[in-house]
Structure formats: C-alpha cells, structure tokens
C-alpha cells in the first residue's frame, strides 16, 4: 500500500529585502551594470518552498595599496596590476568575471600607510572610472580613521549607489549620515551576535536611515576558525527574518578572502607543511569551501580573493540556483 508522504514544505510570512547596488547614467551614476541581491522568500536554495529571485553575488577584493602580506599563490594573480587599483579592478571584472568590486581602503589604516581622505577619495574615483560594476567600499576598521576618510570617500562616490562599510554599534553616526546624504547603502557589522546585528540596524534606522538600505555583516570566520558560530548566527538571523523580523530582513555580506588568507591552512607553503599538499590547490579550496558554507547559511554577497575560488563558487551558485536541474 502506498504510504502518503505528508507535505512538510514550509511557507514563510516575510521576504528578505532586495538591495540594488550601482546607479546608471539615467539614475545619476556612471555604472554600466547594477547588481541586485536578496528577495528570498525561503531559506537559501530551498526553491521548493519559496523564491530566490537573485543569486548571491561575488565581489572581488581590491586594495588601494599593494598588499605586502599576501601569500604567493594569491599574489601571483594580481602582482602585475596591484600598483594601480583601477587596473586591479579591471582585471577582476574582465578576466575573472567579478559581479562587484570590493575596494578595501587598507592603505588608510594607521598601521599601514595611514593615507588621508583625499588619497582614499582618489582611489575610489579611479576604480569607478576603471570599471562599470558597482562598488563596495570597505574602511579600515579603525573608528577614528574611518570617520576621517569616509566624508571624502562618500562624496567622491556620490550618486554611484555604492555599499559602504562598516558601521558598528560603537561607531555608526558619521557613516549613516554620509550614506543618507550621498545616497549609498551601508554595511552594518556585528561581532557574531544576532542581538547586536539587530541593534546596529535599529540604531541606524533610528537616525532615519531606511532599513532597506542596509546589508548585514555578521562577521566572518574561515573554515576551522569558528565558522560554525557565524553559521548559526546567520541561520538564526535568516529564520527570524523569514518569520517577519524586519530588523533582520537585510541581505548578508560575508568577507571571506581576508579571513581565509590569514589562516595557516591557506597561507602555509608546502615547504612549511608538506603533508598538507599543494598550497596552490589547498588555498583556493579553503576559500571556496568557506564560501560554500556561507552560501548555505544565507550569504547574499561574498567577498573573495582568489580567482580559482571565484570560479568554483560561481559554479556552485549556478548549480544551487537550479541551473537546468529543476
């Protein structure tokens, strides 16, 4: 006798906000391409339960200065262009197919070159002129420094509808005010804590900022370095959002490259740890694997570094989106 299988499909009451980055000429910007993320009405890739109208997007990381500490297996792909963030961004878009460029203003960090606002703004303008994709602009993480450079940076990118970050519960006023004035979106950072994630969003919206213009950065960790904590925080945030929590309904961004390429599993050479196998495969694989996990947790934007990781994550997204499989 055939057994009736009960329908256990979940339906949710709320959708994740859609966030569109980039503005074309008609919209007051100069982008030739826009990227929209979010909009999901079910858990990631649960196409049988709801819609996932936009696939997660891949941003590739570009610095305003040439990095000093990137391992060779990573550096070799960018050494020819990293003296010029414009060329670097161009390579990421044209050669590796990046959906977005994430410009990290590492050169402004007081522990690096401590560059000033004008140099930061210059780098932003240069990247904007060099590529047509939308821009994510990531500060130094040093509150005072970020508050010093962002006024010039936000103005330089005025009208381009960029994603600027990050704001934290300790430092949000300046950047929120700037993003309101220059019509950018903002990244709200929280230390792997769903409550604080929500609190930062509330603090920003209390200033009159639209919740639809926020992207959550729940912090990221490399595989093996606390990834499971981030995973569960992201999962909880997403479940709360689908159940109707408007203050957690924002798309999420994961900053993966910087984490992965700081851990020995990606960084250590074969000479150091021969039993771990070829670094050239191991590094990108570690980055890609970390990224897969975050895709499943609900990441909408992934910031990656290695071209191979980018390629394989793009492939994974394609498959998970049901490309030819549904």
């Amino acid at each position: 006798m055939p057994l009736a299988i009960p329908d256990v499909k979940k339906t949710w009451t709320n959708a994740i906000n859609t966030v569109t980055l980039g503005a074309t000429k008609d919209e007051g910007g100069t982008r030739t391409k826009k990227v929209t993320v979010g909009g999901a009405t079910a858990l990631p890739f649960h196409h049988f339960e709801g819609k996932m109208p936009y696939p997660p997007a891949i941003a590739m990381e570009v610095w305003d200065v040439a990095p000093q500490d990137w391992p060779e297996v990573l550096a070799e792909h960018f050494r020819d262009v990293w003296h010029d963030p414009g060329l670097w961004a161009k390579k990421c878009v044209e050669q590796y197919g990046a959906d977005l460029i994430c410009l990290r203003l590492a050169g402004c960090d007081p522990v690096r070159q401590n560059r000033g606002p004008q140099e930061a703004a210059q780098a932003v303008k240069h990247v904007l002129e060099s590529v047509g994709v939308p821009l994510i602009i990531w500060g130094t993480g040093n509150d005072d420094k970020d508050n010093e450079i962002f006024p010039a940076v936000a103005e330089a990118a005025s009208g381009e509808n960029c994603l600027l970050g990050t704001i934290t519960e300790d430092n949000y006023k300046t950047l929120v005010a700037l993003c309101t004035a220059y019509k950018h979106k903002v990244i709200a950072e929280s230390p792997c804590d769903v409550n604080i994630a929500k609190q930062v969003n509330i603090l920003a919206t209390d200033m009159g900022f639209k919740p639809e213009d926020i992207v959550i950065y729940p912090t990221s960790a490399a595989l093996g370095y606390g990834l499971e904590y981030v995973y569960s925080v992201m999962e909880r945030a997403r479940l709360a959002a689908l159940r109707g929590d408007k203050m957690l309904s924002q798309p999420m961004i994961c900053d993966i490259g910087i984490e992965v390429w700081g851990v020995k599993e990606a960084k250590a050479s074969e000479q150091e740890l021969p039993e771990w196998g070829a670094q050239r495969e191991r590094g990108p694989l570690w980055e890609a694997t970390t990224a897969y996990v975050y895709l499943l947790a609900g990441a909408d934007i992934l910031v990656l570094r290695h071209p191979q990781a980018v390629a394989s994550v793009r492939q994974a997204i394609k498959q998970l989106m049901g490309d030819g499989l549904t």
């Binding site: 409550n195 604080i196 509330i202 603090l203 209390d206």
Partner: protein, 643 residues
Amino acid sequence: MPRVRFHPDEVSVEVERGVTIQAAAKAAGVELASICGGDGICGRCRVIVKNGNIEAAPTTLLNRDEIQRGYVLACQTKVLGDVEVEVPPETRAEEGQILIDIDAQRFRALYQEERVSFRHEPLVQKLYLELPPPSLHDNVADQQRLYREIRRHRDYPIMQMGLKILRAQPKLLRQNHWKVTATLGLRGGTVEILQLEGGDTSSRNYGIAVDVGTSTVVAHLVDLNTGRTVDAEAMYNSQRAYGEEVTRRIIYAERGGLEQLQKTIVNDINNLITALVSRNNIALHDCSAVVCAGNTTMMHLLLGLDPSSIRRDPYVSCSTAPPPVRAAEVGIQINPRGLLYCVPAIGGWVGGDVTAGILATGLYESDKTVMLIDVGTNGEIVIGRREDGFSWMVTCSASAGPAFEGSGVKCGMKASRGAIERVQISPDGNVLYKTVGNVKPKGICGSGLIDLVAGLLEAGFIDRSGRLIPEASPRIRERDGMLEFVVVPAQRSATEKDIVITQADIENLLRAKAAIYAGALILMKSLNLDVADIERVFLAGGFGNYLDREKAIMIGLIPDLPLEKIRFVGNTSIIGAKMALLSREAWEKCEEIAQSATYYDLISFPHYYEEFLAAKFLPHTELERFPSVQERLRVKEALWHSR
C-alpha cells in the same frame, strides 16, 4: 501697599508693589517649595492666584489648563495690587520624614487592598498581669501562678522561662504587689517569658524590622502595640568593602573573613537601631524583637553561619529557616533577652526578602497570575497565583548589581534626603527634578536614575544602546576620557559639585535592567506564559517614595503592560518583615510560603545570557515587545521632525 493673603495658612502680608509672590511668601513666613531659588526653571513654586492684580512672566512649566485655573510660578509673578494666593499641597515645602510616612501608608494600603488581614499578635508582646496573691486556698507556686495568669489571657500551652527570671521572680512579684508585665516571645511552638517587669510597662513595646540587603540595610522602628512605624533609617551595607556581590562576600568568608563580615553587618544594624531609638527617646530595653529579612547569604553572614556551600553545586545552604535566637548572642544590641527572627528563605539564592515580598503583596493567595519583581543587587522575580485551592509560586534570582540602589553609579545614592528621586527632561533640554525632602540635591537614587535614562532616551540624548550623543545637548561633555551628562550644575547642588550621570553609569544601569528583564522573561517562558498572561505586576525595591512605572517600561526594566496592571509597592522586604513582626499568623505564613515556593536556577537555562544581551538595549532588541515605548518614541520623533 498691596496686601497678599495666603491660603490655607490664612496669613497676610503687606509688600511693595512689584515684588514677587515668592518674596511675599517669605515675608509672610509661608514656606514654598523651590529648587532653583527663584530662577523660574524648577517649576516647584506653583501657586494659585484666586484673585487680584498680578503680572506673571510667561513660562513653559505650566500648561494652558493650569494657567486658566490661575496657576502661576510664585517666583515669576509680581504683585501689583491686593492678591489672594492659594498654596497647593505639592508646593508646600516639606521637611522631615517623608520617606517613612509614605511607606507607612503604603504598608496599610497593601494590607487592605490585597485583603491580607493577619491578626495583630506581635512575635514579642507585653502582657500586664494582676496576679491574685497566694493564700492557703490558692497556694500555687509563683512560676505556676504566673503561667496560670498568662493562660487566662492567651492560649499558650507550652511556655518556658530562663533560670535568671525564675530566680528574680519571687521578689519581683511581691515587691510589686503581684502586678507585673511579662514580655512574651514566640520561639517556634513555645512561648518564652523573656522578661518580667514590675507594674504596667505594656505600653512600651517596640520591635525592629530590618531589610538586610546586599547593598542597603533598612531598619524600621515599630510600635508593637499599635503597629505604627515610628521611624525609619537606612544605610549602605558596610560589607560592601568586602565585595559588591554576594559571591564575593562568600569567597571572603571562606578565606577566614566570616567573623569580620558578621561583625560588620551587626555593627550596621546596631548603628541603625541606636539612631532610631535615640531619636525617638525609646529605651533599648523596650525593644525586644528584631525581624530580619534578607537574601540567604546575608542571613548566613548575620548569624555567622558558613555560607560556602551556597555557591557550590548543589547550592545547599546551612539553613533556610533558622530558629529564633537571642539577639545578644549575635551581637545585636536591644533588650539583652530580646529575640532575633530571620524570615525563612526559599532557597540558597532566593532569600527571606523574597518570602517577605510574597507575604507583603499577598501574591500567594491571588486569584490572578501575579509577577513580583524585586529590584535589588540580586533582582528576584516571582510568578504565582492561587488555583483550585492551592497556590503555586516560582522564583528566580538574577544578578543585577547595585546600580538601582545608587551604588556603582558616580553620583548615585540611596533614596534618602537630598536624593533626586524624580527627573524630567523638558522639550527645551532642561532638567527638572525633585529631591526627597525637597532640599538641594546631593545625588540621584534609583527612581531618579530610571527617570533619567528614560528621559535621556526620549530627548534623544542617548541612543538605544545607551550611548551619550555629544552633539545632542550642551550638558553632555567629556571628563577624564568619558562622556557624562550634567544633571545638576555645581552651584545648585548640595555637594557644590556637578551631579552627573556618566557613560559607565548608564551601562551599569542597562546591565542591571537587562539582567532583571531577562530573568523575568525566562521565568515566564519556562512557565509557558506570555506577557499578556500576567495580570498584575508588583514592582518592588528600595526606591523610596516614588517610581514612575511608565519610565520603568520605557527603559525595559519591566514588561510592557498596561499601567493599571503594574503597582509600585516599595520595599516589600521590610514591609513583609514588619508584617511578620506584628503578627504571629503572618510569621507562620512566611514559613508556609518559604516551603511552597519553587526555585528556578537561571544558570540551568542556556539562553539566559542570550536573553540578557537582547535586553541590554533600550527598551529591548525585540522592539515589538515594547509597543507603547515604540509609540512614544515615534510621536516624539514626529514632533522633532516637524520642528
């Protein structure tokens, strides 16, 4: 010259045309309340001009309705002709014991409204006896004669008496012609004749109720014959020097400091008692009972019991219901044969103060689901009701810290004279406040701190995580690397120093309120109750006279419930202790409550910390749990945007 007449004092005075009503009042010897000293900013000197010719400067401190009813600020109003002025009660400058007066009223109110009526039978009573002198027909021995006479008045089957009294008795009885007063103390099921005095001294029988808090010790002197609270006195617990929280003190005791801690608290209690009796001209001799209510650790430290096992799995204490002991044995100085009673505790972490609170609020026999939130260094929460003839009560304890008791806050103080107990931030950013006793402010007590944080949030001077926003108010400044808000500038404070609230103070307050709210929420969750299921909330704590419930909701200290469901009940620990002191029935009820309440250990709830973090926000991370606050802030914001 114009004549100004003041009601209800019915005095009048002639003054120069153009002087203020305030000055006229002073000349007439009518005391008006005022904090600002005549600058027109405190709004405390409101009077009603019945008729006459005046010139009043415009003020924002009176609303249209009040102005129509004739209200003016005395300091801002000039006398131009003959004037009739009425001084409303709130404007009469009051000096004196406001704290206890109101507390005493509240005590009665609680008694009545909850229909908790216990028979008046103090734990220690004085009984005047006129014994029939012995004769050949009635040759019962002296002691048995005394017992017989007592039993004519009281139903005490089992009595005892010390050898000292037994020895003194024959002479005392004969010298006083068989007219004596016996002091009878309840000891479990036995009644002890504590003392025998010649003649009738029964009118002089006093007891002391003490709330032995981790941070604050409060003592009330009670006339045991009438039940009247004669006077009250409070101080910070001197044991604070050995650690703010009970756990620190247990550790100190474990390291050989038990005796030190015991002496310290006994010394505090003795100081309070001495102050009370000397101020009221009462002989120590006439105080024969002390009832203490406090958390379990404090009771251990008071009695000199080893508290070390309280903090160790399985968290068992030496005793939860210690027997009455001779107060002198502990070192408490009252009548040398007087008794010390400790209100029985519910468990190692929920003490007799909570038992007393349950007693005082009548929670154990409520046919509604009631929540009692006792804000102290440990915030205790009780939920209970009476159902189908038996009552259930569940309790938990959350470590809040002493911020609401004014400790660990830079300008914090307990709710005593000179404490700012009420604060309002006016739309133009000014701070209006009221102090206990209407004197110059010395510091801020718990209710003032709640008002202040709520006011700062509403005014937009802090954000929802409690951070001061420097550009929002000129009163916000940086001192020693930390932001602070000036509540009262030095020239208006009694300390001649600025009274401020610092960023760290606000964080301490947020932590305290988060701990208590999280505890309340987890207790509700574990009972499968929703906020809407709570039919009444009793908010208790040593806040003094006043607590603005709306502000307590505003900061997320208590769940967002309609105000009519919430009652501020003051220090229920001392109220309960007093009830027990005055009534054997109430005392026995305490024993019953302590046994029937259940203790939930928050440590066993894995989500407690999570809930705590969610609550460490104004009013809470889950904004939808506080719809009334959301609405208030929305209205405020709309106003702000329209400006």
